[in-house]
Point group: C2
Chain length 153, copies 2
DNA sequence: GTCAAGACTTGGAATAAGTCTAAATATCAG
DNA sequence: CTGATATTTAGACTTATTCCAAGTCTTGAC
């Protein structure tokens, strides 16, 4: 299940992401990010902490939370919240969707078909979809109006 | 913003829902459910508590949590979790999707076009969509296999 | 109607997840 | 190398939710 992620790849991505936002490159950020990429699953902050701590024993939980937030801000990681419970993190930034198993609570990536430009979904075999929901994110009319008013002030 | 919800309507729905699962009709369940229907928004448990408590001062927070879970089980209410933060509740059970405003954190219902059978989405004017995600729920291959094995045992 | 059995509600204690704070440490530009 | 600033850390704190045990209400049987 473990993926070998070349450290240069981690460094390059991380550097780019951090540079974009003027943040610093640190050993902790590199370590946590590489742990996320290594196993491309959807761990909670707690799971990230345990995985990362085994190789970096002085790491603190606060740093894990800080770093995860940082990675999200840098656009290197997505937050995933589909249910009551701890936030999970997803290091796959390719356009994709999620499948949430209501039995084991697992989260699986479902990629949009990369061939076609269309948002065609290719559900991998074995997944039984009982329900789906589309979640839009953006700016609501009221907030958009406020922002427009401020811009004109 | 308040909707007048005829109490008979509340009672009928609630009765049906509870009957399906063998649960009892109580004053608290009726009260909380009618509060949810009255203002068709997406309140957190805490907000529900405050709204409901004003008319029913002895109501406890524990009952609000219990009742919300009960209503979810009865299929009268949906849980909504799109971000880190308290769970929200949605009493609109018609097929629809959600828009999450990243500025004010508000949640808005986006209905699937009811005319066409197609999952065509009609985004109301003023909403600026920056991103969207499809969330599937169901059973993953591993859990499905386990269930099948158990069924054959 | 009365009663027992079980369902429901309640307040408060307990837990889990995440945030905040202030001091120590690391990084970077010059 | 040094100062300015960003980052990390441990632990206290807050918030959201769950658990628990005692009391109350509902219901069906008589």
């Amino acid at each position: 299940m473990e993926r070998q992620v070349p450290i240069d790849f981690v460094d390059e991505r991380l550097n780019k992401g951090l540079a974009r936002t003027g943040l610093r490159f640190t050993a902790q950020r590199r370590h946590i990010y590489s742990k996320l990429l290594e196993k491309g699953d959807h761990p909670s902050a707690d799971e990230v902490f345990m995985r990362a701590k085994s190789d970096m024993p002085d790491l603190s939980m606060a740093t894990v939370y800080n770093t995860l937030d940082t990675l999200v801000k840098c656009g290197l990681v997505r937050q995933v919240n589909h249910e009551r419970g701890p936030t999970r993190y997803c290091s796959n930034m390719e356009k994709h969707h999620h499948f949430h198993c209501t039995t084991c609570n697992g989260v699986f990536d479902i990629r949009s078909d990369p061939e076609s430009g269309e948002p065609e979904i290719h559900m991998p075999p074995g997944f039984e979809v009982l329900q789906f929901e589309i979640l839009f994110r953006g700016i609501c009319p009221e907030c958009a109006a406020k922002q427009a008013a401020e811009a004109n002030a």
